[in-house]
């Protein structure tokens, strides 16, 4: 009995997570507790489950969880990478927009916050992106994406196996 290759499910899951997280408007889905990442993990497991049909192999939580975690790690890398590329090509300094937004809201920023924003703004002007924000963003992505990806994938395993059992 041969188990299908897991590359396709990982690719599908990673693409789903990355698209949902990078395309404007669609990425609002992640505002609901990373729903987009959960959907990506689920998509990966669903693809693997489809591949397993008619092979006699049962979808295991181990395989599902691993798919979710791997999709999460890869998406964290791609999303951070795309973020840097978009900053480089768009030539926009988002820190100026942040400062304007604070001004429009009539909020008085503490001097420390202004100092940070100016530092990040200088980085954007100098390199086209902020290395500090990118590093922190990457670290946070590496925590959040595999975590929510595995939740989506394991939810998928439980739900799809339940569906299978009901069908028998």
């Amino acid at each position: 009995m041969t188990t299908p290759n897991k590359i396709l499910p990982i690719v599908i899951g990673t693409i789903t997570m990355t698209i949902i997280s990078t395309i404007p408007i669609i990425n609002l889905l992640n505002v609901f507790c990373c729903a987009g990442i959960i959907v990506g993990g689920f998509a990966g497991v669903y693809t693997y489950w489809k591949q397993l049909q008619n092979t006699g192999v049962i979808l295991t939580a181990k395989d599902g969880g691993m798919i979710g975690i791997l999709c999460g790690i890869l998406s964290a890398i791609f999303v951070t990478g795309f973020g840097v590329l978009i900053s480089l090509f768009s030539d926009i300094n988002p820190m100026i927009d942040v400062m304007k937004a604070f001004d429009n809201m009539g909020l008085e920023m503490p001097p420390e916050v202004i100092q940070y924003l100016e530092k990040f703004s200088d980085e954007f002007n100098q390199h086209g992106f902020s290395p500090t924000i990118t590093i922190f963003s990457f670290i946070f992505n590496l925590i959040i994406y595999p975590l929510f990806g595995s939740i989506g994938a394991l939810l998928g395993v439980s739900l799809l196996n339940k569906k299978n059992n009901q069908a028998v």
Binding site: G56, G64, E112, I143, I144, L154, L155
Partner: protein
Amino acid sequence: MIKFQRFSVDDHNLSRKVYFIFFIFSFIWLMLIFLAPLFTALGGVFEKISHFIYMFFSKVCHQNEDRSFHLFGYILGVCSRCVWIYLGFFIGTSFYPLKYKMNNIGLPSLLYLFVAVVILLLDVMFDTIGIFHNNFFSRSVTGFLLGFVLPFYVIPGFVKFFDEVHSFVRNKLSYKE
């Protein structure tokens, strides 16, 4: 083909560990949400830490000022709906051992999850379309409902996952020996 569905794992010790890691993790996650405004109010080094907490949660929530609860004059780490989702998740995790054994891998009816998701989506959709404007109460209730039911579907999945990984590693090691 006959399939035997298992409803529990054999390793009680492992499932207990998985549950407690889950419990502690959801508690820390919830605490960070409340610590963000507290640290900002304390100032100094704490304020710097709070910036990182806010930045971390900005990945999972819009942190809209108008849709968030305030503590000490500053918004919590996430919006009101998310606060109640995570609070519901923590309470659901706390209640889990009262309903199921920790080594359980069986799921409750999907209807509960479906209803909670649909109610939350309706609250969002009606507000977006303009049929009715949701408020702190509706966001809190719908968020709490979803958060509360989620652990009953997620914990069995994680218990099964770690049980299978543990068995896999043990088999590999015994094979090498």
